[in-house]
């Protein structure tokens, strides 16, 4: 990378991602303790691992399209959901910043390689859950 400020930008993005994520996680945890659970599940069901495992009380039952409603209803589980998804997206921004800077440098080989990485990431996120599994 010719433009070495990119590394500083990346470092800020990573730090910001972690801080935002942890704030959502901590808020969510406080809410589920105050409200005794969330999203129709009680705290004791959520925290009994084997019960939760058998009754599928896990990430698969949480629909991401419900996030706006969940957040406005102050549902703790949706705050945790947002925290975890911010975490997942944080490293993806690094690849994206890399992609833009390779493009600026006219380093087309690496533009192509970063595109493949981004493709894999979105393939895992959007295609596999719907069609493969």
């Amino acid at each position: 990378m010719k433009n070495h400020d990119d590394e500083v930008i990346i470092s800020y993005f990573l730090k910001a991602g972690v801080i935002i994520s942890v704030s959502f996680l901590v808020t969510g945890v406080l809410i589920i303790f105050l409200k005794n659970g969330g999203d129709g599940v009680t705290l004791s069901q959520l925290s009994s691992y084997n019960y939760a495992y058998r009754h599928h009380i896990d990430s698969a039952r949480i629909s991401l399209s419900n996030i706006p409603n969940g957040l406005t209803a102050l549902d703790g589980l949706y705050f945790i959901t947002v925290g975890l998804w911010v975490l997942i997206f944080t490293p993806i921004t690094v690849v994206f910043i890399g992609w833009v800077s390779f493009l600026e440098d006219k380093n087309y080989l690496y533009v192509a390689m970063a595109s493949i990485v981004l493709f894999n990431l979105f393939f895992a996120m959007l295609v596999i859950p719907r069609y493969v599994v």
Partner: protein, 330 residues
């Protein structure tokens, strides 16, 4: 009353994750490698939930420490993103393999694999205590094509270190396996990534460890999204581990700078090999194959084996260091 118990349960997972993050950061293996055994062996959490919580927490530690390293411009983002082609592909294949294994009720296989991989990843980690800059090699055709030449400023040597990578294709092959292991076991598989860049591509240790650190996050993000839709993430556990591992890794990084005595790290290697053996035993125990004795006895046998093994390795390494010193005098 029950709410107090649940709060304590939550805090105990946070505490376990702090310890896992701490050991993971001191040994350079990453939080997940310690976290998955701790959650499954001591907390009785099903493997699937342990892997899910661990993989997503790995992103937090990777992003947290990478933000410090990239700023110092040691990590090579270009080489890292290039290798991510293989790790993300590997992570997709690995997570889908875990899904298949889970559906076929073969989860014991994952326990055994986990233990074996943990034990094997100790070898390069122990060996790496030493050489900072790799032996001189001639650039090959991939060096020029994939632009593997760069430099960084080494604070300890107080000079700019120029370096170039070779055998890019071999690096990609190792990275595919690193990604596969990450998706299959819910860990960052930093040890394998280091192996890919250090052994295969002949990059300096500083570049290798820092680049692998930020690559772990991208690989784990790929696996985590598949885990999410499969329902491998229990939000209660994952929230606790993400917070805990992050604190642990932060403390570990602070302490790491101050530790001058290498001997302390050997204690952690002993703990890791104990976890490795215990995971293998638990795997066999699940199918009542060879190991049918109780979990407590397994626990003590694992402790005994790991103390003997690490003791022998320690003795072996020290003897070699001693012999080298004698050689220098002559």
């Amino acid at each position: 009353m029950t709410i107090i118990i649940i709060i304590l349960k939550f805090l105990s997972i946070v505490l376990g994750s702090i310890i896992a993050g701490f050991i993971g950061s001191l040994t350079g293996l990453g939080g997940g490698t310690v976290l998955v055994p701790v959650l499954t062996l001591f907390y009785g959490i099903p493997f699937i939930f342990a892997a899910g919580a661990s993989l997503i927490s790995t992103i937090a530690t990777s992003a947290g420490s990478a933000s410090a390293y990239t700023k110092k411009k040691i990590a090579n983002i270009r080489i890292g993103i290039g290798l991510e082609i293989a790790t993300t592909t590997g992570a997709i294949v690995g997570s889908l393999t875990l899904v298949t294994i889970d559906k076929d009720h073969l989860i014991f296989v994952v326990y055994i694999l986990f233990g074996v991989i943990l034990l094997f990843s100790l070898i390069p980690t122990i060996k790496k205590i030493g050489a900072e800059i790799p032996p001189e090699t001639k650039p090959d055709w991939t060096t020029k094509l994939f632009q593997l030449t760069d430099s960084y400023y080494d604070e300890r040597l107080k000079q700019r270190v120029k370096y170039h990578g070779i055998r890019w294709w071999l690096g990609e092959i190792v990275m595919f396996f690193a990604g596969f292991v990450s998706g299959l076991l819910g860990i960052g598989s930093g040890a394998l990534k280091v192996l890919g860049m250090d052994w295969a591509m002949n990059l300096p240790m500083k570049v290798t460890t820092t680049s692998s650190n930020f690559m772990i996050g991208i690989t784990a993000a790929t696996g985590s999204s598949i885990y999410w839709y499969e329902g491998y993430i229990n939000l209660f556990i994952a929230a606790a581990t993400a917070i805990g591992v992050l604190i642990g890794a932060y403390l570990g990084a602070k302490v790491l700078v101050k530790i001058s005595n290498e001997n302390i790290r050997w204690v952690f290697f002993a703990i890791l090999s104990f976890l490795g053996f215990d995971m293998v035993f638990k795997g066999f125990h699940l199918i009542n194959f060879l190991i049918t004795f109780s979990l407590t006895i397994q626990f003590f046998i694992s402790i005994a084996i790991s103390i003997v093994m690490i003791g022998l390795l320690y003795w072996h390494t020290k003897r070699k260091v001693f012999a080298d010193k004698q050689g220098d005098k002559k």
